[in-house]
C-alpha cells in the first residue's frame, strides 16, 4: 500500500523546450558574471560581456521561435504540470520583451562607455530581469507569476540606481525598491487570499489539474469576499508594475532618475511583462468573473488615461513627460482588457508591441542627446534641436507623433484597435474617455515638437555636437521602421496578434 503510494508520487514531466528561452537568458547572465570574475580588469572583458549578452538574447529568441514552430504544428500546450503555458500569447509577448531587451542592451553599450560605468554587472542584471519577464509571459500559476515578478523586479531596483554618482539615480532606485517591495507583498497577499478562496494557485488547467478557472466554473462561491479581496490585491500589485494610475506615483521619479536606457527598458519590456500577467490572470483564470473585475479595470484605465495625459501637460522634463505619457499608454492598453473579448486581447497585444517600438525610439533619442552626465533632460535643452540635428529632431518628432496617434504610425493603428475593441464590446464610456485623453495628449507631444522646430536658431539651447554611435543608430533605425511599418502595413502583425490567443481561454 505504502509502496504503491510512493510510486505514484508525481514528479512533473520536464519539457526542456518550454523553459529554454529563460535558460538561455539566465545562463548568459551567469556567464557574464563568470567572465567578470575570470578576466577582471582585462580590456576584452567588457566587449566579451556585451557579446555574451547579445548572443544570449539572440539564442533565447531562437528558442522562442522554436516554441512558436511547435505551437504552429501541435497547438498550444502546458508544461510543468500546467504551471506554465506555452501559447501564442506567450510567444508574442516574449518576442516583444526580447526585442526590447536587445534594443536596451544596444543603447546601453555607448551609454555605459560615455558615463564611465562599464560594469558587466549591468548587462547581467538586465538579462536576469528579462529572464523574469519571459517567465512572466508563460506563467500559468500565481506563484510562478510571483517568482517571475521578483526575478524581474530585484535587478531593476539595482539598475535604476546604477548610475551611482548621480543623486537622482540613487533616489530612483530607493524609491522603486521601497514601493516595489510593498507592491510585491500586496500581490503575495492577494495570491494567498485567492488560494484561500479557490484552493489552488493554478490559473487554468485541464481535467487532471485543479485550477482557479476550473474551480470557479464548477462551484458557486457562497461568500465571494475572500476572492474579491484577493483579486483587488492582485490588481494593486500588478497595477504598480504596469504603472497604471492610481498606482503610478513612482513612475515619474523612477523614469526620470534611472539611466535612460534602463528607462527605455522599463517602459517597453517591463510594461509588456506586467501586462502579460494581468491579461492572463484576468482573461484566463478569472474570466468567469469578468463582470466583476470590469469596473475595476474601467477605473484603472480611465484614471491612467486622464492622470497621464493631464499631468504630462505641465512637465518641464522630457523623461518625466514620457513617464506620464507611459501611464496614459497603460490606460489605452487597459481599454483592450476592459473590452474582455478576443479582439480586445489582440488589440492590447498589438498596442504593447507598437508602444515598445515608439517608447524605445523616443528614449533612444533622449539617451543620445543627453550627453555625458545624463542630466540634461529639460525641455529647454531641446529648444531649436532641428537647427543642428535635423535627423534626430525628425526621428523624435516621428516617435512623439506616433505616441500621439497620428495616422500612418504604429501608434494610430494601435489606438484604432483598442478603440475598435471597446466599440465592439459596447464599452462607449471608456471609448469616450480614451478619445478625449488622446486629444489632450496631442498637446504635450506637440509642445516638444514646437520647441525643436519653431525656435529661431539664435536662441537654440540644444547641444551642438552629439555623437551617435552605430549601435544606437541601429536601434533608432529599427524602431522607426517598425513604427512606420505597423502604421502603414499592419496586416501581418494584426494577424499575429489576433492569433496570439491564450491557452484554455
Amino acid at each position: 500500500m505504502i509502496a504503491a503510494a510512493v510510486q505514484h508520487l508525481a514528479t512533473p514531466h520536464v519539457d526542456a523546450l518550454s523553459f529554454l528561452p529563460e535558460a538561455f537568458l539566465g545562463g548568459a547572465a551567469i556567464l557574464i558574471v563568470l567572465i567578470r570574475s575570470a578576466l577582471r580588469r582585462s580590456s576584452a572583458m567588457f566587449g566579451l560581456s556585451v557579446a555574451t549578452a547579445l548572443i544570449g538574447v539572440a539564442a533565447s529568441g531562437g528558442a522562442v521561435f522554436a516554441q512558436w514552430y511547435r505551437i504552429d504544428v501541435d497547438g498550444p500546450y502546458a508544461a510543468f504540470n500546467a504551471m506554465v503555458a506555452i501559447d501564442g500569447f506567450r510567444v508574442f509577448l516574449a518576442a516583444v520583451v526580447l526585442g526590447a531587451t536587445f534594443a536596451a542592451l544596444l543603447l546601453s553599450i555607448a551609454y555605459l562607455r560615455r558615463e564611465g560605468l562599464e560594469g558587466p554587472e549591468y548587462l547581467a542584471l538586465m538579462l536576469l530581469s528579462a529572464t523574469g519577464m519571459l517567465a512572466m509571459t508563460a506563467a500559468n500559476d500565481l506563484l510562478v507569476v510571483f517568482v517571475a515578478l521578483e526575478v524581474l523586479s530585484i535587478p531593476l531596483y539595482v539598475l535604476a540606481a546604477f548610475d551611482r554618482r548621480r543623486l537622482t539615480s540613487q533616489e530612483a532606485g530607493l524609491k522603486y525598491f521601497v514601493l516595489g517591495a510593498f507592491s510585491s507583498a500586496i500581490f503575495l497577499y492577494g495570491v494567498a487570499l485567492t488560494y484561500g478562496a479557490t484552493g489552488t494557485t493554478r490559473l487554468v488547467g485541464n481535467a487532471s489539474v485543479p485550477s482557479i478557472a476550473g474551480f470557479l466554473s464548477s462551484n458557486t462561491l457562497l461568500d465571494q469576499g475572500a476572492l474579491f479581496a484577493g483579486l483587488a490585491l492582485l490588481l494593486v500589485g500588478l497595477g504598480f508594475k504596469i504603472a497604471a494610475a492610481p498606482f503610478h506615483m513612482w513612475t515619474p521619479d523612477v523614469y526620470q532618475g534611472a539611466p535612460t536606457p534602463v528607462t527605455a527598458f522599463m517602459a517597453s519590456a517591463t510594461k509588456a511583462a506586467g501586462f502579460a500577467a494581468i491579461l492572463r490572470i484576468l482573461l484566463s483564470g478569472l474570466s468567469i468573473y469578468r463582470l466583476d473585475w470590469r469596473p475595476a479595470i474601467f477605473g484603472l484605465a480611465a484614471l491612467s488615461l486622464l492622470v497621464g495625459s493631464i499631468a504630462a501637460l505641465v512637465q518641464t522634463d522630457i523623461k518625466r513627460m514620457l513617464a506620464y505619457s507611459s501611464i496614459a499608454h497603460a490606460g489605452y492598453i487597459l481599454i483592450g482588457l476592459e473590452a474582455a473579448t478576443p479582439r480586445g486581447l489582440a488589440a492590447s497585444l498589438f498596442y504593447l508591441l507598437s508602444y515598445a517600438a515608439m517608447a524605445i525610439g523616443a528614449f533612444a533619442v533622449v539617451t543620445v542627446i543627453s550627453r555625458r552626465g545624463d542630466d540634461r533632460h529639460a525641455l529647454d535643452d531641446y529648444r531649436g534641436l532641428a537647427v543642428h540635428h535635423p535627423v534626430l529632431a525628425g526621428l523624435l518628432t516621428f516617435f512623439l507623433l506616433a505616441q500621439a496617434g497620428v495616422p500612418f504610425t504604429g501608434g494610430f493603428v494601435a489606438k484604432l484597435n483598442v478603440f475598435a475593441a471597446a466599440a465592439d464590446a459596447r464599452q462607449y464610456a471608456i471609448l469616450i474617455v480614451g478619445v478625449i485623453a488622446a486629444a489632450i495628449a496631442a498637446f504635450f507631444y506637440l509642445r516638444v515638437v514646437v520647441l525643436m522646430y519653431m525656435t529661431d536658431s539664435e536662441d537654440s539651447a540644444a547641444p551642438r555636437r552629439v555623437h551617435v554611435d552605430p549601435a544606437s543608430a541601429l536601434v533608432l533605425a529599427v524602431a522607426a521602421v517598425l513604427t512606420l511599418e505597423l502604421g502603414v502595413l499592419p496586416a501581418t502583425m494584426l494577424h499575429w496578434a489576433q492569433h496570439a490567443g491564450l491557452l484554455f481561454a
Binding site: 484604432l416 478619445v435 506637440l446 522646430y453 519653431m454
Partner: protein
C-alpha cells in the same frame, strides 16, 4: 486592371515630397522646381480626371479596391463622384498656385515644399476615400503638415495659432473617431459583417440604427465637421490660423481645408444619418445663419485686412451649410457651387493680401490708402476679387449664393431672408475695406509700391478667370454635380418621411420619377 488614376493622383505629391527631401538644402531652387513639377503633374492628371469623368452619371467612378487591414475589415477603397470631383479639382489647382505664391519664402524652402506636398496628398486622400477609416486617416494626417506650415512659416503669433488649430480640430475628430467606430460595430453586430465601406454603411445605417443612436452618432460626426467648417460658435480657431498662416497656408486652408467639413456633412452626416439630419436641420440652419451674419458683422469691424478675409470665410461657409441642410436639390447645388467658388475667390483675396503684405509689411487697413493709383493692376484685381467674393452677378459667387438662397427660400423662408442680409453685409465690409485701402491719394510708402509682376499675375488671374467663367457658364460644373446631389436627396427621401417640395427641384425630376427612368 485599369490604370489606378486616383492612387496616382493621391501619391504623386507624396513621391514629390520624398524627391524634394532628397534635394540639397543649399540649393532651394531644386526644391522649388520639384514642388512645381509634382504639383503641376498632379494638376495635369486631375485635369484628365475632370475631362474623362462622365457627367450625368450617378455613383462613383474610377473606383479602386485593395485589402489594407483585413482583421478590421478596413480597405483601401477609392472613387470619385460629383461631390468630390470638384474638391479634387480645386485642390489640384490651388497647390501649384500656392507654391508659386510662396516664391518669396526663403526660409527652409525644402521643408516648406515637403510639407505642402504632403498636405496635398492628405487632402486628395480625404476627398477620394470610399473607406471610412481611410478617410479618417487622411482627415487626421492633414493636421500635421498644416500645423507645421502655420507654425513654421507664419507671422506673429504663429505658434499659438498653429496649436489652437491643431487642438480644436483634434478634439473634434476625437468624437468622429468614437462615432465611426460605434457605427461600424453596430453594423457588425447587426449584419455580422465588419466593414468600413462608406456605401455599405450608408445603405445600412438609415434603417439599421434607431433614432436616438442615430442622433448621438450624428452629433459625434457633427463635432468634427463643425469645427472644420467652422460653424459658429466653433470658429474661433479660424481667424487666428488664417491670419498667422503664410499666404500659401491661408489659401489652402480657406480653399480646401474648410471644405473637408462641409464635404463631411454632405457625404457622411446626411448619408449615414438622414433621419437625424432632417430632424436636426433646424439647429444647423440656425447656426449657419448666425455664422453668416456674425461673420459679416465681425469682418466689418476688422482693422486687419487678412483677418477681414478670414471672417468673410465664416460667412461664406455659413452659406454652404445653409444650402446643405436646406436639403433641396438647388440648395445642395448651391452649396457645392459655393464651395468651389469660395476656394477661387477667397484664394485670390488671400493671395492679394499676401502680396500687399510683402510690399508694405503690414496688413492694417489704416496703413494703406490710394494704392489703386500707385499699383493699378493690383488695385484692379483686388477690386475684381472683392466683387467676385461679394457675389456680383457674372462671378461664380453669385451663382452659388443665388442657388443656395433659392433652395433655402422654398423650404425655410425666414432663414433665406436673414441670410440674404449677409450678402449685403459682404458688399459693405469688402467694399469699405477696398475704399479705405485703394482709393484716395497715396501717401508715403503707399505712393511708391511696385505693381504686380508676371509671377504674381500668374497666381491670381487664373483663379479670377475661372470664377468669371463659372459665373457666366456654370453648366459644366452643375452637370457633374447634379447626379450626386440628386442621389443624396433621393437617399434622404427613401429613408425618411422627408419629401422635397417640387418647386425646389430645379431642372431635375422627382426621385420616384428618376428611378423609373433609370430602370
Amino acid at each position: 486592371m485599369s490604370f489606378p488614376l486616383l492612387t496616382v493622383i493621391i501619391f504623386t505629391p507624396f513621391v514629390g515630397a520624398i524627391a524634394t527631401l532628397l534635394t540639397p538644402s543649399r540649393r532651394p531652387e531644386y526644391a522649388r522646381v520639384a514642388g512645381y513639377v509634382f504639383s503641376i503633374a498632379t494638376a495635369g492628371m486631375t485635369a484628365y480626371l475632370l475631362w474623362h469623368f462622365k457627367a450625368h452619371h450617378v455613383g462613383y467612378q474610377f473606383t479602386e479596391l485593395h485589402r489594407w487591414m483585413p482583421t478590421l475589415g478596413i480597405k483601401y477603397s477609392l472613387g470619385v463622384d460629383g461631390i468630390s470631383l470638384f474638391m479634387v479639382g480645386l485642390t489640384a489647382l490651388l497647390f501649384p498656385i500656392g507654391l508659386l505664391a510662396s516664391a518669396k519664402v526663403d526660409d527652409r524652402v525644402k521643408v516648406f515644399t515637403v510639407w505642402m506636398l504632403v498636405l496635398e496628398t492628405a487632402l486628395m486622400g480625404v476627398f477620394l476615400s470610399l473607406d471610412l477609416m481611410l478617410f479618417f486617416v487622411f482627415f487626421e494626417v492633414v493636421l500635421v503638415p498644416m500645423y507645421f506650415i502655420i507654425g513654421g512659416w507664419g507671422h506673429g503669433r504663429r505658434v499659438y495659432a498653429a496649436l489652437k488649430f491643431f487642438i480644436f480640430t483634434m478634439a473634434g475628430s476625437a468624437f468622429l473617431f468614437a462615432g465611426l467606430l460605434a457605427l461600424v460595430f453596430l453594423h457588425q453586430s447587426d449584419t455580422h459583417k465588419l466593414t468600413f465601406d462608406i456605401q455599405t454603411l450608408a445603405a445600412w445605417a438609415p434603417k439599421g440604427l434607431d433614432n436616438s443612436t442615430a442622433k448621438w452618432l450624428f452629433m459625434a460626426f457633427f463635432a468634427a465637421f463643425a469645427v472644420k467648417v467652422p460653424l459658429f460658435p466653433l470658429h474661433t480657431w479660424l481667424p487666428d490660423a488664417h491670419t498667422e498662416a503664410p499666404t500659401a497656408g491661408s489659401v489652402i486652408l480657406a480653399g480646401v481645408l474648410l471644405k473637408m467639413g462641409t464635404y463631411g456633412f454632405l457625404r457622411f452626416s446626411i448619408g449615414f444619418f438622414p433621419k437625424a439630419a432632417v430632424d436636426l436641420a433646424p439647429l444647423l440652419l440656425v447656426l449657419s445663419t448666425i455664422g453668416i451674419i456674425y461673420g459679416a458683422v465681425v469682418a466689418t469691424m476688422q482693422t486687419d485686412l487678412k483677418r477681414l478675409v478670414a471672417y468673410s470665410s465664416v460667412a461664406h461657409l455659413g452659406f454652404v451649410v445653409l444650402g446643405i441642410f436646406a436639403l433641396t436639390t438647388q440648395g445642395l447645388d448651391g452649396a457645392l457651387f459655393t464651395m468651389v467658388s469660395h476656394g477661387l475667390t477667397t484664394g485670390a483675396l488671400f493671395l492679394l493680401v499676401g502680396m500687399l503684405y510683402e510690399r508694405r509689411h503690414t496688413r492694417e487697413i489704416s496703413d494703406f490708402g490710394g494704392l489703386w493709383k500707385s499699383a493699378p493692376v493690383l488695385g484692379g484685381l483686388f477690386c475684381a476679387a472683392a466683387f467676385a467674393s461679394i457675389g456680383l452677378p457674372g462671378f461664380s459667387g453669385f451663382v452659388g449664393e443665388f442657388l443656395t438662397l433659392i433652395g433655402t427660400f422654398v423650404v425655410h423662408r425666414p432663414y433665406a431672408i436673414i441670410a440674404a442680409v449677409g450678402v449685403i453685409l459682404a458688399a459693405l465690409y469688402l467694399l469699405w475695406a477696398f475704399q479705405r485701402a485703394f482709393t484716395g491719394e497715396p501717401s508715403g510708402e503707399n505712393a511708391t509700391i511696385a505693381d504686380l509682376d508676371f509671377r504674381e499675375l500668374a497666381c491670381v488671374v487664373p483663379l479670377l478667370a475661372l470664377s468669371l467663367f463659372l459665373g457666366i457658364y456654370p453648366k459644366p460644373l452643375l452637370d457633374r454635380v447634379e447626379p450626386a446631389v440628386k442621389s443624396t436627396i433621393c437617399h434622404v427621401e427613401r429613408t425618411t418621411h422627408y419629401r422635397e417640395p417640387a418647386s425646389a427641384r430645379g431642372r431635375s425630376t422627382a426621385c420616384a420619377a428618376s428611378q423609373e427612368a433609370s430602370k
